[in-house]
Amino acid sequence: MGKQVAMTGNIAVANAMRQINPDVCAAYPITPSTEVMQQFASFVADGKVDTELVTVESEHSAMSAGIGAAAAGGRVMTATSANGLALMWEMLYIASGNRLPIAMMVINRALSAPINIHGDHSDEMGARDAGWIQMYSENGQEAYDNIIQAILIGESEGVLLPAMVGMDGFIISHSIENLELLEDKQVRDFLGEFKPKHPLLNINKPITMGPLDLQDYYSEHKRQQAQAMQKAKAAILKVAKDYKAVSGREYGFFEPYKLEDADIGILTLGSSAGTTRFVVDLMREKGIKVGMIKLRVFRPFPIEELQQALSHLKALAVMDRSDSFGAAGGPVFSEVRSALYDLPARPKTVNYIYGLGGRDLGISPIERVVKDLQEIHQTEKIKELVTHLTVRE
């Protein structure tokens, strides 16, 4: 069995990276992810890992160096936040387009301006179309477990896609929690040796990567990426099953909580799931049949599975910790609502934008959401489709 420890989300992730022992790590510091690479750099300096640590001059360079190393045939990792992820922007698409299974920890943080260093999902949600697998974590334990699994999911046969794992900045990254680390050997045995399919450094079989791809083939290569994302669904479940055998901890596309007999439900992702679960318990004591569903995997988006899990509800609130200005609500809402559209009977679905720039989502705003849902359930009418929660008027 693993070791029970008390550490911050960032240190837990750095320890996951130590146990993963990637071939190459290229990173540039940005709050709140800095501590991950700072701790990992100590592991490198202390000889605890064999990793080649490349200290670059920007996040654009970090991802570029990572792409080069992954193309060469290495197992590659990095970590970033907010504007750092934004600066990687064009390289994110090059990593996924070249089918390089890089694993990246995103310590979720609000995007400037106005400048803010605290946790929300606007960075990672902004990258949702970049062709990366995306997972979100409720706490340090999940961040640790998810980043280890991300390595194998991305490297899976038929997938070969980069994967990013989110963890709420400060709320999780800088909070000390009780969690369990696997033994180093358990992690190394679980991951095994990375055998790249088409390494550029194989001089016996020279290949070309990233050539010009025009009207005659580009569409076919994008179609392949769409297929790889579909294949990633099976890989996510298989890796979760294997990981459970090692860790005892269970993962899927999402985690339902008291949802089966619920009339109304709240869908959320990230750290707010903990508070929401607490409110669900409070409401259940009062006899209110409310449940929660915590989304773990956002890319590939588990459409059919969500349809099954949510179809029996009468009213559903989708919580978004980022806004998609001018859209029909936040990014999670748009996709969940779209997934429900084809169901013969579907819950009335509303959206709450909350917690931007790290603003706390306390108990009372979630109680208000439950109250709204009860009213929608009773009246079958939606008063406000998209509500900006935790905002002063």
């Binding site: 089918r99 088409h198 020279p206 070309t208 990233g210 005659d216 083939y217 076919e220 392949q224």
Partner: protein, 96 residues
């Protein structure tokens, strides 16, 4: 769509080219809008076109122009411009 090109299931992922030395497989003739048409009567076999052709599309046999390889000729028109005998005319593909 019947273009003769392979579908997404039959090509390497990510646009990778898995063999070296394969540019001959890329038939650049598909780019051509104007085709060089040679008047053999006027041609003096000076081989200027052969020297100038950027795609090695001018085929020579026994020091004489044999033909223009249309699999690779992009129709750039350099041969027609350089020919001292004005033996090459660029003709729009649709009008041939």
């Amino acid at each position: 769509m019947s273009t003769g090109l392979k579908g997404w299931k039959d090509i390497p992922i990510g646009g990778m080219i898995l063999e070296a030395g394969n540019s001959a497989e890329y038939e650049t003739g598909g780019w051509r809008t104007f085709r060089p048409v040679m008047d053999k009567e006027k041609c003096k076999n000076c081989l200027f076109c052969w020297i100038y052709c950027p795609d090695s599309a001018i085929q020579v046999e026994n020091e004489k122009i044999k033909e223009i390889d249309l699999k690779y000729c992009k129709g750039c028109g350099i041969c027609a411009a350089e020919c001292p005998a004005k033996a090459i005319e660029m003709v729009e593909e649709g009008k041939l």
